[in-house]
Amino acid sequence: MTVSTDAPAVASVSTPATRLRSLGWVARRVGGGAFVLWAVATVIFFALRLIPGDPVDAILGGPGSQASAEAVAQIRADYGLDQPLIVQYFLAMGKLAVADFGTSYALKVAVAPYVLTQLWSTLVLTLASLVVAWLGALGLTLATSGRGRVSRAVGSGLELLAAAVPHFWLASLLIILLSNTLHWLPPISVPGPLGLVLPVLTLALPLTGFLGQVMRESLANAYEQPFVLSARARGESEWGVRLRHVLRHAALPGISLSGWAFGSLLSGAVVVETIFARPGLGRTLLSAVTIRDIPVVTAVALLSALTFIIVTVATDVVDRIVDPRVTEVASR
């Protein structure tokens, strides 16, 4: 039953109750996050044991190792691989619980600092891509959302194509165009911002297409809202209407999708890092899965999950800042 006039106005003033509410929110988020991490760790643990191939190979210099029997036995004992699976599981979880990710089978280094370095590199790439995709989508929609049919068609056509291009092909095309033909940019990741341009473009363009499609629609929706008429009636210019009013509304669905988008960027990073020879989580993951470097795969999975959780929470927070209605609806 909908009686719209019955909706009470909610005043969101900071009271002890609201503060308590945010505390509860934080607690729920932390609890939920911890659960997800545990579940990811468990899934990964058992999934990796299902993969054919002996982890001992990874420890002994990669697949195809011809290590001696002594070496193999030594490694099995050292890494606890001779224990029953369930014991291994609890040992592994116990270590993970205290953030002990162990030693990489292949690299022989402590996993945590290693993977964290890679994470940093991937974060730079993905966050930059997210920002670029965001700005690109906003720019494209704002620039082409005017009244001209042609510009609108061109805008949505570009978005459509961008969203349908596989990353690895796009990367090749960009290298050929911007690097080999125009000589503007290095085709590999080099230190400094210049080396970041092509990888970020590759990763950001398809996302720009997706976000653009969503924003275009919400922008069109926002234009139809009475408050736009109000603003125009106040003498606001067309760009004033766009930037001061419509923009935020158009951005909203984009913001709530950013968590998801970030997840997809992490996946795309594998391809982009491989092509542009960038260090990062994606490449680490690819090579670790290839050689069954279990501690590294586990750490990458957990870190990706953690990052994803944090980004999701962050987008929620941004969402609440941009759109205070979210809080109100949630509390209703």
């Binding site: 993969i51 002996d54 030594q74």
Partner: protein
């Protein structure tokens, strides 16, 4: 032995240059070498997990460690063993004792002197299970005892004569590291191994690059080097660029100076680029070949093996896919192995003969898909392909083989997989065809690949005899050869062994293990070090 070698130096350089000229034709009048600069090297090989090639021991480790580690001996471009850290050596009559004289004026880059104790520590390090050495461990397998007779004298006692010992010692996986450094824990030694080489590992950014800086005190250049003293380059940035297209693009754009694992089409198009040159340095050991698994049906029948070899014609494919950069091989061994015998007559294509052979072998019915069957079972061959090891051109070649074998009635099932799954398929004997590269210096590689002992899996499941060739005659030949120090006698034994392998249709040789480098014309004095064709930048300099 040292002095005459130095006198001979100009000659061997000339010989090397002539050899290289065959491939590159880029012998301009040499300008005056200049010092300084950082060279960027981009490798397409996997990033090593450990920079110490004793640990595990694969080709990527060999490539990079050549820049900072040195071996007791090396090879010149004619395949002759030449002195390096060892100046002289003698083998006892029974072949069981070897005495090596070492250079007494060399220090490791951490200041530790290079001496007999250091050599002893290295061999022991290789044999220590904790090191988990694989390649190096096998190479020094026959060494029973090591004795530091004097500071510059070391004596090896062997369990059996080993004619391949010198060749083994020339490999980077048996290179000599600072005993002080080896004392450190393995993780540290993997990060920064310490040797006597012209460069020093100073930094390793995982997934990105290793930085190598010049060893200012370097004085142990191999006998065939162009100059003496420290290297000319200030540093090398050793980048890992797994994607071949990107690697080539980076070379074109000038962001890197040298690339390895150049793809055939890139080599072909680089021929038209004035600023890029090519260096072709085939790897030693076995040629790239397809092994026919004789350990299970249907290849346990020689007629089926022969029918397969008769049914496929790889030459047109190699021509088109490799753009003339790879030459068809008719030998099990690499063309750089002097012992290799080329037998084109064995590997002729004749689909009609193949069909007849299959009819004889009982595969005489043909099912609706055009494949031959016997007792209701399809003539089906599983062919796992390692996407990490087979380059795209090779994978395409396999597809062509698949297509032409189909005309005769073979169903070839290509299974591209990652490295671990690929080994998994081999270890569980779930293959009929496989192509596995194997690099080892010397014809002794035949013993590793085709001696029946190599069918017995290592504890990790690994075995090298993927044709599962088990022939006592062959075993005897290979064992004898490995214990025979007379070169010509050994040559004969290996020739006989090779004829058994090829006449039994256990292998289909394709081409040498491809090892093409492309480099900018601004790089001078770059060459591949003969033992395993790894690049060496000791003599290299940047002309602008």
């Amino acid at each position: 032995m040292n002095a005459p070698r130095i006198l001979l130096l100009p000659l061997s350089i000339a010989a090397g240059a002539a050899l290289l000229a065959g491939c590159t034709a880029a012998t301009e009048p040499a300008a005056e070498p200049v010092d300084g600069g950082t060279l960027v090297y981009a490798t397409g090989d996997a990033e090593p997990g450990c920079l110490d090639p004793h640990v595990g021991g694969n080709y990527p480790q060999g490539l990079i460690s050549t820049q900072y580690l040195e071996s007791l001996v090396s090879k010149d471009s004619d395949g002759e063993i030449i002195p390096w850290l060892a100046t002289d050596w003698t083998e006892s009559e029974d072949g069981l004792t070897w005495d090596f004289t070492l250079r007494d004026d060399v220090n490791f880059t951490d200041g530790t002197p290079f001496d007999a104790e250091a050599v002893k520590a290295n061999i022991e390090h290789l044999k220590d299970p904790d090191t988990a050495s694989s390649t190096g461990y096998l190479a020094v397998g026959k060494i029973d005892g090591i004795e530091a007779v004097a500071a510059d004298q070391v004596r090896f006692t062997l369990s059996a004569p080993d004619s391949a010992l010198l060749e083994s010692f020339s490999q980077p996986w048996v290179s000599i590291q600072s005993p002080t450094a080896l004392e450190r824990d393995q993780a540290t030694n993997c990060e920064s191994p310490v040797g006597t080489g012209p460069f020093i590992v100073t930094d390793w950014v995982k997934q990105q690059s290793v930085t190598l800086e010049r060893n200012e005190d370097y004085n142990s250049a191999p006998a065939d080097a162009e100059h003496t003293g420290a290297a000319r380059l200030d540093a090398i940035e050793w980048r890992f660029i797994p994607d071949a297209a990107t690697r080539y693009a980076a070379l074109q754009s000038g962001d890197v100076d040298v690339i390895d694992n150049a793809q055939p089409n890139n080599i072909s198009s680089a021929a038209d680029v004035a600023t890029i040159e090519e260096l072709d340095a085939p790897r030693p050991g076995a040629a790239n070949r397809i092994e026919l698994n004789s350990g299970k049906a249907p290849f346990d029948d020689i007629r089926v093996r022969e029918a397969f070899i008769r049914s496929v014609d790889v030459n047109p494919g190699i021509d088109s896919l490799f753009f003339g950069t790879a030459e068809r091989s008719y030998s099990v061994l690499s063309s750089v192995e002097g012992a290799g015998i080329s037998t084109p007559d064995v590997f002729t294509t004749d689909p009609e003969a193949a069909k007849t052979l299959l009819d004889e072998a009982g595969w005489d019915t043909i099912d609706s898909d055009g494949y031959r069957t016997k007792d209701g079972e399809r003539l089906s061959l599983t062919f796992p392909i390692s996407t990490n090891q087979s380059i795209p051109a090779e994978q395409s070649l396999f597809e062509q083989i698949q297509a032409s074998a189909k005309d005769v009635g073979f169903e070839v099932i290509l299974q591209p997989t990652d490295l671990s799954s690929w080994y998994g398929a081999l270890f569980t004997n779930e293959y009929n065809l496989v192509s596995a590269p194997y690099t080892k210096v010397g014809a002794d590689v035949l013993r590793i690949l085709y001696h029946s002992d190599s069918i017995i899996p290592a504890p990790s499941g690994y075995y090298a005899n993927l044709a599962q060739l088990s022939d006592p005659t062959l075993d005897a030949l290979l064992t004898t050869a490995s214990e025979t120090s007379d070169a010509s006698e050994r040559q004969e034994l290996y020739a006989e062994a090779q004829s058994i392998i090829v006449d039994g249709f256990y292998v289909l040789p394709l081409y040498d293990q491809q090892n093409h480098y492309l480099y900018s014309t601004s790089v001078e004095g770059f060459r591949a070090l003969p033992p395993v064709a790894a690049p060496t930048f000791y003599d290299a300099w940047l002309s602008n």
